[in-house]
């Protein structure tokens, strides 16, 4: 498992961020800083660039302009230093459909260099945490969207990341699932978090900062 690295300054620093898809700007003029351990909620209408912002912070997209630093690493040049330090929960579950939930988590553990015994203990702990221990040996393709989301949350936090980037973490989850997920990715876990959501009533009260993105408007931090 990658060791937590010492970091001076904010966990995330974004200045003048811009991302274009061809000629169309998807994200413009985004500036904010987020302290280590703090929580940021990103709000905005469809097409405002919330997912684009999250994917840039996760090193999955390159910014078209501006300065971005995550956990002390300037993006995109130092993106390789960040791999393994981020937990990303996106629209796709990032799970292989033909493997079981447990096999998927074991595969992820091997990619992250987690020792076998430690990985098995961590996987069992997480599966219990999301109420999936009895369904973990079924193929992902046979699971409901909500079950996949629970597994995806396990995948996201398996390697104990320093930064959680969560895109609609409650999607497809029932009330029980949302409560269980809170124990792994909620504000109480103490990890720096960026949460994209369409449910401000649930997430804003727990947030230290709120970033509002608008279409064709400057982002506002409060």
């Amino acid at each position: 498992m990658p060791p937590a690295q010492e970091m001076a300054g904010p966990a995330i620093s974004v200045a003048g961020l811009r991302r274009d898809y061809g000629d169309r700007p998807a994200l413009e003029g985004v500036d904010f800083e987020l302290a280590a351990g703090a929580s940021l909620v990103v709000l905005g209408p469809n097409g405002a660039g919330k997912t684009t912002l999250l994917r840039i912070l996760a090193t999955l997209l390159r910014p078209s302009g501006g300065d971005v630093a995550v956990l002390g690493c300037a993006l995109p040049d130092e993106a390789w230093k960040l791999r393994g330090r981020i937990g990303y929960l996106g629209h796709e579950p990032l799970l292989y459909r033909d493997l079981s939930g447990r096999e998927n988590l074991r595969f992820q553990a091997r990619l992250y260099g987690i020792e076998r015994a430690e990985a098995e203990a961590r996987i069992e702990e997480l599966l219990r945490g999301v109420g999936m221990e009895r369904r973990a040996d079924e193929r992902v393709a046979e699971l409901s969207a909500g079950m996949r989301q629970r597994l995806s949350i396990c995948r996201c936090v398996l390697h104990r990341p320093e930064l959680l980037l969560l895109d609609e973490p409650d999607s497809n989850l029932d009330a029980e699932g949302r409560e269980l997920a809170r124990g792994l990715i909620g504000s109480g876990v103490g990890t720096t978090r960026v949460v994209v959501t369409h449910d401000p009533e649930r997430h804003v009260p727990e947030a230290d900062q709120v970033l509002r993105l608008g279409i064709g408007e400057r982002a506002v931090v409060s």
Binding site: L60, R83, H91, R97, R110, R139
Partner: protein, 226 residues
């Protein structure tokens, strides 16, 4: 960073486990090859082949069967965002190239294990050339795997994937096929195998493998970028 060997083993094991469970590629490849042999058998109206004709029939069939597997090589990564999972992990991304190419070599070897004996039953009077043919098959499989993995990774996100792979792969595979058929022809000669220029063709195959292995290593990271 996770060690490249561990990441390679994890991805290769994952791919082989998925294929064993779903049998999405290998049965289709084998069925295609056997059907093609049947068509050649009746189309050519010959009960035995030798030399360049035998070599051509064998390699044309194996190449087109390989395309079926190459088309599906990255489908599991495209579905459900598996590419992102690899890109987020602390691994050298070229490990994905190496593991996928290794998986393809395993698929091709399994295909040949089934179809080459059938080819021999259908067309060969003398199976003595099959022993040294193993070296040709292995070197050609490595070349096809390197080129196929590269092309498949480029084509996987395209809606025209099924068209793009053969269109780009087949021209790139021409030198490989020339060397493979050149090395195979003397092995399948009438009257038993001969080794005329066999070593030279093996070296050409090895050079092709080296070049496309290095090209894949050099550009694969770039291909995974957004």
């Amino acid at each position: 960073m996770t060690s490249s060997r561990a990441a390679f083993a994890a991805i290769l094991a994952k791919d082989l486990r998925s294929e064993l469970r779903t049998l999405q590629s290998l049965p289709a490849m084998a069925l295609f090859a056997v059907t093609t042999f049947v068509i050649f058998r009746f189309g050519l109206d010959r009960t035995s082949l030798s030399g360049s004709l035998a070599s051509g029939v064998l390699w044309a069939t194996l190449l087109f069967a390989a395309v079926l597997g190459i088309n599906r090589l990255f489908v599991s990564e495209r579905e459900e965002g598996g590419f992102d999972a690899i890109r987020l992990a602390p691994i050298d991304r070229t490990v994905l190239f190496a593991a996928k190419a290794a998986a393809l070599v395993v698929y091709l070897a399994a295909l040949e294990l089934v179809t080459v004996p059938i080819f021999a039953i259908f067309f060969l009077e003398d199976a003595a050339g099959l022993g040294p043919l193993v070296a040709v098959l292995l070197l050609t499989d490595i070349g096809l795997a390197a080129t196929g993995t590269l092309i498949s990774s480029m084509a996987v996100n395209s809606r025209a994937r099924d068209l793009l792979v053969p269109l780009v792969l087949l021209p790139l595979a021409v030198p490989l096929m020339i060397a493979a058929t050149g090395a195979t022809e003397p092995l399948l000669s009438l009257g038993g195998p001969s080794y005329d220029r066999f070593g030279t063709w093996l070296m050409v195959l090895g050079l092709y493998d080296l070049i496309f292995g290095l090209v894949g290593y050099a550009v694969f990271d770039f291909l995974l970028e957004d």
